[in-house]
């Protein structure tokens, strides 16, 4: 374990053979088993793994926040040469002092909503140091400037709810950095943020690391994020560390089957369904109480498993000086057949897809507008006198979708993509515009629609935990639409349900199960089966995989693709993950603030010419490859409110391109609505900048290999 040599900076934290258990009614359950790693000054160690793998438990173990039923069973945590385990709370406080800081996932929960931000920031200083309040206030402002907060003096006197999520996270980071900590623990700090905001926060974390030389522990489930910020990587699986090493080495040559599986199950930006296959990891993470102690923990899900794997708990195998993996075949696994990513004959398929592009129109909407009134909280409006504000959630959107095609809609939160889906399905009243589905006008709400029409359009939802009614068995929930739409005669309903369960790769014994007995991925499959039950022509998928772990996500994407192949259904696929949308869709629409700013076949969207917003999005996507080259384009400011969208081009307030590419610094963008610029490939961009200029821009992403 001792690898420190003279050239390396001092080690700040050393975690050695740490084992953490939680007391439950059934006795102690090990959540973390025998984990060792060290963090040096100015270094970021990424802890990565799926949910329930013990990443956060390690972080809480280090700062001793395990709660009343958690305790460290074995091992040591050394912070700046001082042992932390086994000390009393008071001693710990003295030892740690202000030297360890934490940043959590949800900034809204880390900040006190009823105290001004300035007071919260200054308190950090006055609490730990002998310092006057004025000085604390000044230093807080300086720190806010340091984290690139616009207008810091003003932010100091605001309350948390008055600034955006990205800014809140900046404040939390500023708060953590105020005392210049030696160790900064970040637990999914960017997971709740939009991709462009996330990119900016990650840049900030990177900068701060250089300036302050703090040791960082960065916990995340996102391989792309971890590839961007980490120097060292620790891959966690089921409470054990299965692989660790320098980040380039782990990504270039993953030596544990689990790491390999993770990398094979996510699409990289630019991968498409035509030339790639995702490989999910079968099975699921075993719950803490059912983890075998003396065999390889990953054996049940491993593709390379042999009898030897089940004989003893594998030790770390050394691959290089710093790169180790807990697999007995780690040395040779690279020489074994690698997971095949490329689908054979992919190029041919692509041509085929191209030709099908202009089939019969299934769904088309023109100048669709969905507005809703916003009730203000003032006293005046209580009496109905106040000015009625209108949120333009979807404004002037036109799309045509052909049979059998998939339309991907991307955009950050609040861009109106979910409202658009709700409007189409009839849950949100359409203010203006025309929508035609199967040649029938569907601008009315769902309760006024004909049953025959309703059954042709179904939806798959985002959250696996709330997509199924917890009261009823799986069978009953899938049977309900079958009965309602009379898809099959009454006496065959059960057979039909079982057929659908088979179609989503679930065995027939799931029929009697309750939702709470299923894992997230299984629930999502049942949700898909329920949507399929009425045999719809169009399935709207609203972020169907964003709440799932990556290995499960791949399985669900594969399932959706397969279903599309078999049933020929068209799909609208809404997501915020650009890699997934690219992988899944034939056509892509990029939405910003209620409008589509760019639309076209998937291939052309991800290559120049870009709309400046698409360009910024692409440059912000975290790519799970530390060697990928990505141009840095960061948007300034926040997404403006949909209550009062900017005049002219809605993107002009944040557009990084208009200054350089338009005469007069892009004055025209502020006043005039941009025209659609289209190419012969069916690619349209809503921008004042001429296509020729946009085409001349470089591609944002260059992938290695």
């Amino acid at each position: 374990m001792n690898k420190s040599n003279h050239t390396n900076p001092a080690s700040v934290l050393e975690v050695d053979h740490l084992t953490i258990a939680y007391e439950t009614r059934k006795g102690d359950v090990e959540a973390v088993r025998n984990v060792s790693f060290q963090v040096r000054e100015g270094e970021t160690v990424g802890l990565v793994g799926e949910s329930g793998c013990g990443k956060s438990t390690i972080a809480f173990g280090i700062v001793n926040f395990l709660g009343p039923n958690g305790r460290v069973v074995d091992g040591s945590v050394c912070f700046q040469g001082k042992e932390l385990i086994g000390r009393s709370e008071a001693e710990l406080k003295r030892l740690r002092g202000d030297r360890i800081a934490m940043v959590y996932q949800d900034p809204m929960q880390a900040l006190n909503p009823s105290v001004r931000l300035g007071e919260q920031l200054a308190e950090v200083l006055t609490c730990h140091q002998q310092i006057s309040e004025d000085e604390a206030w000044d230093r807080s402002i300086q720190m806010l400037k340091r984290v690139n907060m616009p207008d810091p003096e003003n932010v100091m006197i605001r309350y948390p709810h008055q600034i955006s999520g990205g800014q809140q996270q900046r404040v939390v980071i500023a708060m953590a950095m105020l005392n210049n900590p030696a160790l900064l623990i970040m637990d999914e700090p960017t997971t709740a943020l939009d991709v462009t905001v996330e990119a900016a926060v990650l840049d900030l974390i990177e900068e701060l690391k250089k300036d302050f030389r703090a040791a960082n522990i960065f916990i995340t489930h996102n391989l792309g994020v971890v590839a961007r910020v980490s120097d060292h990587l620790c891959v966690m699986y089921a409470g054990q560390m299965v692989e660790k090493g320098p980040v380039e080495q782990v990504f270039r040559r993953p030596c544990h089957p689990y790491t390999m599986g993770l990398l094979a199950s996510i699409p990289r930006l630019g991968d498409t369904k035509a030339d790639c296959v995702l490989h999910p990891i079968r099975g699921r993470v075993p719950p803490p109480a059912e983890r075998p102690r003396d065999e390889c923990i990953f054996a049940p899900r491993c593709n390379y498993v042999t009898e030897r794997c089940r004989e003893a708990w594998p030790k770390f195998e050394k691959i290089t000086q710093e790169h180790v993996a807990r697999c007995i075949y780690a040395q040779e696994i690279d020489s074994r057949p690698r997971t095949v990513r490329r689908r054979p004959g992919g190029a041919k398929d692509e041509g085929l897809v191209q030709k099908e592009t202009r089939g019969d129109s299934l769904l088309s909407f023109k100048e669709l507008k969905i507005y809703y009134p916003q009730e203000s909280n003032s006293v005046v409006s209580l009496f109905g006198l106040g000015e009625k504000k209108i949120v333009k959630a979807v404004d002037d959107v036109s799309v045509r979708l052909s049979k059998g095609r998939t339309l991907g809609i991307v955009g950050e939160s609040g861009c109106g993509k979910s409202t658009l889906a709700k409007g189409l399905i009839g849950l949100e009243p359409i203010t203006d515009g025309s929508v035609e589905f199967l040649g029938i006008d569907i601008t009315q709400s769902v309760s006024e629609r004909d049953t025959a029409l309703i059954r042709e359009m179904q939806m798959v939802f985002q959250n696996p935990d709330s997509t199924l009614n917890p009261t009823y068995s799986i069978g009953m929930q899938i049977a309900r639409p079958i009965r309602k739409f009379k898809t099959v005669p009454k006496n065959q309903v059960k057979n039909e349900v079982i057929r659908l369960l088979k179609a989503v790769r679930l065995d027939d014994f799931y029929y009697d199960r309750l939702p709470r007995q299923l894992s997230g991925g299984e629930k999502q499959r049942v949700g898909i089966a329920r949507a399929l039950a009425s045999r719809p022509d169009l399935i709207i998928c609203d972020e169907p995989v964003s709440a799932l772990d990556v290995s499960v996500q791949a399985a669900v994407i594969n399932l959706l693709l397969e279903i599309q192949e078999i049933y020929g259904s068209s799909m609208i696929f809404i997501a915020h993950d650009l890699s997934v949308v690219r992988f899944f869709s034939d056509d892509i629409a990029v939405m910003y603030l209620g409008q589509i700013v760019e639309i076209g076949p998937a291939e052309v969207i991800y290559a120049p010419p870009y709309h400046p917003y698409t360009e910024a999005l692409l440059s912000a996507v975290p790519i799970p490859d530390p060697e990928a080259e990505q141009r840095q384009i960061r948007l300034s400011g926040n997404v403006p409110s949909a209550l009062n969208p900017p005049s002219g081009c809605r993107f002009h307030t944040r557009c990084p391109r208009r200054n350089e590419l338009l005469p007069d610094g892009g004055k025209i963008c502020e006043t005039e609505v941009p025209p659609w610029r289209s190419t012969e490939t069916g690619h349209r961009i809503l921008c004042h900048i001429p296509l020729e200029d946009l085409s001349r821009l470089d591609s944002v992403v260059h992938l290695s290999g």
Binding site: G283, L427, S466, T467, N469, Q477, L506, F509, Y510, L514
Partner: protein, 310 residues
């Protein structure tokens, strides 16, 4: 592809979730909490003595023994007698029947289900419907329903009971009506708040996209998922109803004499406390208190335990 292998053989064993098994799971939650178990024992005790009342005493509730009024506990009279020489134990357990097991609509017609239970049941039906409708529809319907119920809640409970009972007259059926009217606003508020939460879930959106009717969504999709807190609340309300019945009986607005009403037993018995015979007032008070405490313990234990499972 190895998509469908998530279900291992192990999980196949736990699948047989029949109705019986689910019911067992429901009841086992009670025994997981000591509070709930004690509450259940007390409640079960009263249910049992009420059910087997004729077997547990040689007397009826009305039989008078002129020679032995205002007696303390003895071998002949287990808990003593009242001022008319009626056996207190018999009156107590026949009184429990009226509270928990039968509803005397008239002299001849008795229907099963205790007075308190019927009152709470009726309040549940009305309150749940109002709560579901105002929570699911929202808007001005919600506004009207909730303001009306607020107005009712503004009147003190005892006063409301007295107004209703004096207006309707003393009878078991009218007690049920009073309990219903008094209980409805609270239940409606509870169900409304649960509905507001549940209607944002995606399975509600899924049923809306299926074009289900509002009634289907309210009663089939939403209501069953609100059942946990509703059951706990209902248990507490049965306790309140028993308490209210006692109060009304004490004030002479409960069941007409000579029926064995706990409240009126206390009212009659209190005259003799200072005369040296506290028994007639004591036992019915203990009965009311123990049953109410039992129901409260049961409800609290259930609530705690179900919170812990979440």
């Amino acid at each position: 592809m190895t998509v469908g292998e998530e279900a291992t053989d192990l999980s196949r064993v736990e699948i047989r979730t029949g109705r019986l098994r689910r019911m067992w799971e429901g009841t086992s939650i009670i025994f997981a909490s000591r509070t709930a178990t004690i509450g259940l024992i007390i409640v079960l005790f009263w249910l049992t003595v009420a059910a087997f009342a004729p077997l547990l005493t040689p007397y009826t509730s009305l039989e008078q023994d002129w020679k032995a009024p205002n007696q303390g506990p003895s071998s002949a009279h287990f808990l003593g007698t009242d001022e008319l020489g009626r056996d207190l134990w018999s009156r107590l357990i026949y009184g429990a029947r009226i509270v928990l097991l039968v509803l005397p609509i008239s002299e001849k017609l008795w229907i099963p289900g205790g007075t308190a239970l019927w009152g709470v049941f009726a309040a549940l039906i009305v309150g749940m419907t109002l709560g579901l409708v105002s929570g699911y529809y929202g808007g001005w319907i919600d506004e009207i329903v909730m303001r009306l119920l607020d107005a009712m809640m503004a009147v003190p409970v005892i006063l409301l009971y007295l107004i209703i009972m004096t207006a309707l007259g003393a009878s078991a059926l009218n007690v049920v009506i009073a309990v219903t009217i008094v209980g409805t606003p609270g239940i409606a508020r509870l169900v409304r708040s649960l509905t507001l939460d549940i209607r944002t879930r995606e399975y509600i959106r899924a049923s809306e996209t299926r074009g289900e009717s509002a009634w289907y969504i309210m009663f089939v999709e939403i209501l069953p998922n609100a059942r946990g807190p509703i059951i706990v609340d209902a248990m507490l309300r049965v306790g309140y109803a028993i308490f209210a019945m006692g109060t009304l009986g004490f004030l002479g607005l409960g069941l007409p004499p000579p029926s064995p009403d706990w409240g009126s037993m206390v009212a009659k018995g209190q005259e003799f406390i200072l005369a040296g015979s506290p028994w007639a007032a004591l036992w019915p008070s203990v009965a009311i208190a123990s049953l109410v405490v039992g129901l409260n313990l049961l409800a609290d234990g259930l609530r705690e335990e179900s919170m812990r499972y979440q």
